[in-house]
Point group: C2
Chain length 188, copies 2
DNA sequence: TATGAGTGTTAGTGGTAACTTACATATTAG
DNA sequence: CTAATATGTAAGTTACCACTAACACTCATA
């Protein structure tokens, strides 16, 4: 019965399907709320969009990367992070794709700009990990590699669905990717 | 003075900026042509869009990947392909980003769907290369890695501009990525 | 010269969408 | 019970846009 929750749920559902192109009418209908209520609360569609999305991002994509970064074994650390993020991203694939699409179009604030968010969070994690190990590494290159892996599973055609792998298979996959990333690091 | 060329150039310019959301009015203005001319020639905006984009894709992204695939040394082959495609993609970054955005929204035909096009073309190249070498490799995994690299340079924030690297630096970068991909292959 | 194809101009149609206004109703707090 | 606050309904405003119709103009070719 909480209107706010109703609105958020309806808005997310509609926005995932249509992005910012969705009309406030559709959102109102899906949320079971009068259109004018949306405007009274959020003033503009854009504000509704960013408000809702900021909220969702924190809930669904909040990461404990700095915890994971404490793992001393780099291969293990990479495997964990890949496994963790890949799962979240693929589980929310439609949402992620919508955010990427809007981001590429350039009408997203920094707070909900997924490439921005992912990349900077990865960099922080990597910095933390290698700082602890007192190891000098090209953080940008490394973060880019990881980001590329994630993007590839969200954007490229995907026949052998990641969703349908057993958790062991996922772990193996993550490990394989981790080794690939690792191979560009060890030379120090 | 060729109207067709005028229209194509104007349309591309506008579509790159705004995607399919661009209005036919804008296109007409940019092309220096009456709006109705667009409709007389292409019937619908969608048809104009796909016609123009199909044309551009062939011109700018046409690849000789099967030639490159003849290189026997896998590391060299990978380096060449990465260098080659990365250059094309980054040079046409705005176009690529627009196409990715539209593709993620799901309103693109197969012919101009960039992830589709890139992925299948990569797979063909890899298949050809490893077939020649009589080597069995997980093509999908490998193509995904390559695709991820490309996507990362187009989508992730990019401070140390790829554009501004010397050709030697680019080659080194491509080589580094190639080695990373290679490291997941050699185990056979 | 006449014909036809391609183009421009102008106006218009029908639809949609963001956002507003005015008023009525419901809900809640003091 | 009352007053403030949140909500719904319905109608409207303004702007944009895909697409069409009507008519006049240019120009090449037969």
């Amino acid at each position: 019965m909480d209107k706010t929750e109703q609105i958020f749920k309806g808005a997310i559902a509609v926005f995932i399907k249509k992005g910012m192109q969705a009309s406030t009418q559709e959102v109102a209908k899906e949320a079971g709320v009068a259109e004018v209520t949306l405007y009274r609360r959020y003033s503009t569609k854009e504000n509704l969009f960013t408000t809702v999305l900021k909220n969702v991002l924190e809930k669904k994509f909040g990461s404990h990367i700095l915890e994971i970064a404490k793992e001393k074994d780099t291969e293990l650390f990479l495997t964990n992070i890949i496994e963790d993020r890949l799962e979240v991203l693929v589980k929310n694939k439609d949402l992620v794709r919508m955010l990427l699409s809007e981001s590429l179009r350039g009408n997203l604030t920094d707070k909900i700009n997924l490439p921005e968010v992912i990349f900077s969070s990865l960099k922080k994690g990597l910095e933390s990990h290698f700082h602890l190990k007192n190891q000098q590494v090209d953080i940008d290159f490394c973060a880019r590699q990881l980001g590329g892996i994630f993007l590839s599973y969200v954007i490229l055609p995907n026949d052998q669905q990641f969703d349908k792998l057993t958790s062991q298979e996922r772990r193996d996959l993550a490990k394989k990717h981790a080794k690939s990333v690792l191979s560009t690091i060890e030379e120090i």
